[in-house]
Amino acid sequence: MKCQKVRKRLPGFLDHQVSKRVSEKVTYHLETCQFCREEAEALSLLSALLREERESVKAVPYFWNTLEQRIIQAEANRNALDAILEWVNRTLIPVGATVVIVIGLFVGARLGGTVYTRIAQILNPDNSSLVLQEIDQSLNLNILNDFPQESIGEIYIGLLAENNLPK
């Protein structure tokens, strides 16, 4: 095992967190390499230094009491939220859906009524002019009509005719 690899495995080796195979390889390398041995020693000193700074704290005697109050409060909040969500699911959504459907039906009926009335008028044999009017509007045939009387378009066409100019 090369020095670079050994150095990377040293923390795990010193913490007894490497496999037996790796441990044997590192041990063998340390027996033959002074540089890595010194590295291992330095890391051991560092670990000892870190262990010396072991200021610890203890929980206060009323730790659980305070926590329990928080739990009770959190559960109360969760129950309130659950109640609101249930009310929304049971009441608001069905009512909202019903309103949307009713509006949809109403609008649909109005639109359908208008179209139906128009179709009925067109299909009425007494309303043949309405049929022609509907065709004109649908196919935009009114652009082929003559200009209205005394309109600028009619005057212009008249002038062209008088001067024998192409229309």
Binding site: S47, A48, E55, F63
Partner: protein, 182 residues
């Protein structure tokens, strides 16, 4: 009652079982939080929040991991997030948490205090991931596998972070790394 029974009852919503789990792990959670946050009041608050989250998150606990591993993972994540929030604060607010500087005097007790302070500051100066790894390794005494689960990374990542953390600490603490001072 053994721990697995307590955990089973806690998941069913038994608060007294949960209380026993809290009393078993409260000091460890508190100390991990204190190592990260360096403030006793904040550590207490963090420990409370962690246990509250654990109590309300029974659906998140997967039985394939140890309860303690899952608990400390929540604690570590909470503390890391808290540190990130603190970093966003203006520096005047952060200074209130720093202890007053100790003047170095050639006295054995103060020397030890200086050493401890130097070690704490050195650890605090590490990048977040390295700091978490070193704190769990040195003060939590967890296996690398447990640490990997807590830190949500691979075992080789844990080794790598510890390696870099110790390299950095050695550079900072070189004046203190003399055999006769240990």
């Amino acid at each position: 009652m053994d721990e697995s029974e307590l955990i089973h009852r806690y998941i069913q919503g038994d608060r007294s079982a949960f209380r026993q789990l809290v009393e078993k792990y409260q000091d460890q959670v508190l100390n991990i939080s204190y190592r990260f946050l360096r403030n006793k009041e904040e550590a207490e608050e963090a420990a409370q929040e962690v246990f509250l989250k654990v109590y309300l998150s029974t659906n998140s606990y997967q039985h394939k991991t140890k309860f303690s591993t899952w608990l400390f993972r929540i604690a570590v994540n909470y503390c890391i997030n808290k540190l990130r929030e603190k970093r966003k604060l203006p520096s005047s607010q952060l200074e209130e948490d720093l202890p007053a500087p100790v003047e170095f005097q050639p006295d054995r007790l103060l020397e030890q205090e200086n050493l401890n302070r130097a070690v704490r500051e050195a650890i605090d100066s590490l990048p977040e991931q390295q700091r978490a790894a070193i704190l769990l390794s040195q003060y939590g005494e967890f296996s690398y596998q447990e640490m990997a689960q807590m830190l949500d990374c691979s075992i080789s990542a844990v080794e790598s972070r510890l390696f870099r953390a110790k390299e950095n600490l050695r550079k900072i603490l070189t004046p203190f790394l003399k055999k006769d001072e240990i």
